[in-house]
Symmetry: none
Subunit: 209 residues, 4 copies
Amino acid sequence: MTAEKDNKTNQKRSLKERQRAEREQLILESANTILLEKGYTATSMDEIAREVGISKGTLYLHFSSKEDLVLALFEEKLSAFLQLLDQVLEEEPTTQKRLERLLLETYKEIIEGRQMLIALQSIGMDRNSFRERVNHETSAGSLTQRITALFDEGKQSGEFDESIPTSIMVSMLFALMGMFDHWKQSELPSAEVLTQSVCQLLFRGILAQ
Amino acid sequence: MTAEKDNKTNQKRSLKERQRAEREQLILESANTILLEKGYTATSMDEIAREVGISKGTLYLHFSSKEDLVLALFEEKLSAFLQLLDQVLEEEPTTQKRLERLLLETYKEIIEGRQMLIALQSIGMDRNSFRERVNHETSAGSLTQRITALFDEGKQSGEFDESIPTSIMVSMLFALMGMFDHWKQSELPSAEVLTQSVCQLLFRGILAQ
Amino acid sequence: MTAEKDNKTNQKRSLKERQRAEREQLILESANTILLEKGYTATSMDEIAREVGISKGTLYLHFSSKEDLVLALFEEKLSAFLQLLDQVLEEEPTTQKRLERLLLETYKEIIEGRQMLIALQSIGMDRNSFRERVNHETSAGSLTQRITALFDEGKQSGEFDESIPTSIMVSMLFALMGMFDHWKQSELPSAEVLTQSVCQLLFRGILAQ
Amino acid sequence: MTAEKDNKTNQKRSLKERQRAEREQLILESANTILLEKGYTATSMDEIAREVGISKGTLYLHFSSKEDLVLALFEEKLSAFLQLLDQVLEEEPTTQKRLERLLLETYKEIIEGRQMLIALQSIGMDRNSFRERVNHETSAGSLTQRITALFDEGKQSGEFDESIPTSIMVSMLFALMGMFDHWKQSELPSAEVLTQSVCQLLFRGILAQ
DNA sequence: GATGAATGAGATTTCATTCAT
DNA sequence: GATGAATGAAATCTCATTCAT
């Protein structure tokens, strides 16, 4: 009987936990949308709660501060990107192809509005303390490391020019992933065109051949 | 006697005007520093005033709102960049060289901390209304036009690859100018290295030859 | 069980709503007092909050701006007056008697310090925009219409002199209702004396018979 | 020589004093206009100075505070009204005629926009301290006394009904002088019609004969 | 005397966070 | 667990008044 009860309790708990996770997901999605539209400070906890359909108090049961909430969103986006990276590494044979796929998927997400961590850099959070927390408490460092590794491999395999410092390559890649930022929604080119252009830049430069 | 007096009056006025301009400059510089460090919302008018060493009221004598102050800062940086562009066009013969110089000067300024309009894009202002004001009330549009023209000329002269849309080229350039943004101060490479790397990317891509 | 719970929930909600309404009432009363004493601009939200015993933030939970608060106060007083008008129309047979009752009740309220909408006209709000809002968003227009109708009836029934324009009659009535405004508290005559004097003026003039 | 010089000095001084008085007059007129349009608090010293065409500093050479300025304006209007009263007493034989003239002249001024002290009661100053100062430092008390005397004479001569307290008569008169306050500019009746209607009220009441 | 730049107290309003129910 | 009323710190902005020139 005790076992049975425990079982039930476990099921209940896991049910509750699942519900909890689902709601947390819902919160993050709503926050994502509003944050990208309005920026960090113009987004109020009130508005997020309203969008999700819960009370402000409940929001604080899930995230203990606004900063924490945004940090969790970052983390989620980062881990999704890391997963994408895993998949790409598995499915694409060369570093070139891998970069191309990464760019393509990234642009797609951005254009579809599911947007991405890159964009989050432009939501305008208070820089100092937050930057630190991103580095220490999220996978951001891990992402940088793996992208760095990607380029290093490219260099070792002879694909990439060794005279460009890897750290600069990484930065260039991130910068190019976030470049859409200056476009109006209506003028956005397609993800494919963007990817093609950027890859052409990356692999041949913009000079006429 | 009247002439003499007028003269004095004029001198006085121009003295006052000079002082006024100097103080305005001082305000903009302080604002620049704090804004880049903290972002738009985390920067309070109080703090700017304190930094400049004046009272809040005096701040509002020079700029009638926080937004106006930042807009003025934008404008100042924009016109400085446009001046740089003029100079570069005059002094450098080819589009390639011109881009190189633009990048070099930009990186220099950024690294020296006098920082630049590019960085201002990342201070995180409430997006909608402000973006509009930047476009209507500053030289931002003019800058975009002239950079666009630069690339178009490059294409026409046969220097640049015509298959990449000019608008994407422009965005790539701005993105690459702002890429430092993700570095810690201590890890910043020199402006020369940065420029060289970015130019290599721009003109030959990152592939090994 | 559900029904029971619903019941409880409803009770709770209605309790909260009652509390909310009570507090709103409390705010309006405090505001009324201070406004009449100091005028619109000299009355700060701080002071109203302090008087009610709540925080400034809470004030804004009930009224989204100072102007809105005062508008709500206006509306409350207006609707109370309209109610009084209904009652008077029902209870008094002639227009003369009706006017007399209206004046009497009004003076009573004023003297008792529960004061009235008439007085509110003298709290000195910024004239233009506010006057507009009063006309569009409160029952002020309705009140004027009904008083106008009262005098028109009086004319049609042969009670009142048709040579005086109704609009002027209405203004005279309002003016006479608000005339106490210039007295010190200590010198105020009784409501009955006031009413009798004003009625004598209204119905016979001040000339000796 | 000394006498001559003194003479000159005197002339100069009186010239200066005349200029000073003229400017003071100018200030009061501008203040009058703006105050009636915007109310006390919404009228800034800046705006008055701008309207007059002098600097704020100069304003303070004439009036040592905003309150003092308004008090001076009150006093000016009051003494003008007292002068009018003198003239009317001289020119009109009966109390009735005198009241009629007072009303007519008052309405004229109001409608012509030169407006009057009565209107000033509605500019919404902080009530307590200011009311006191008006009573102690201006001729307001004197005005009340003389109007009181006017009605008392009317009573003694048998013209007015003795059963209405004089103080109430005075208040009614002031109230009726200020009643236009609730009209839109466009709907204002002529001074003559207003006067006639109000006199009819005063002397016969509004009942049909 | 005249000026207007400078001040600083104070006003309205917003919002992350807490906590009693 | 969920709620949302309450808080209070902080932000932007205004303006009467002063004072060095």
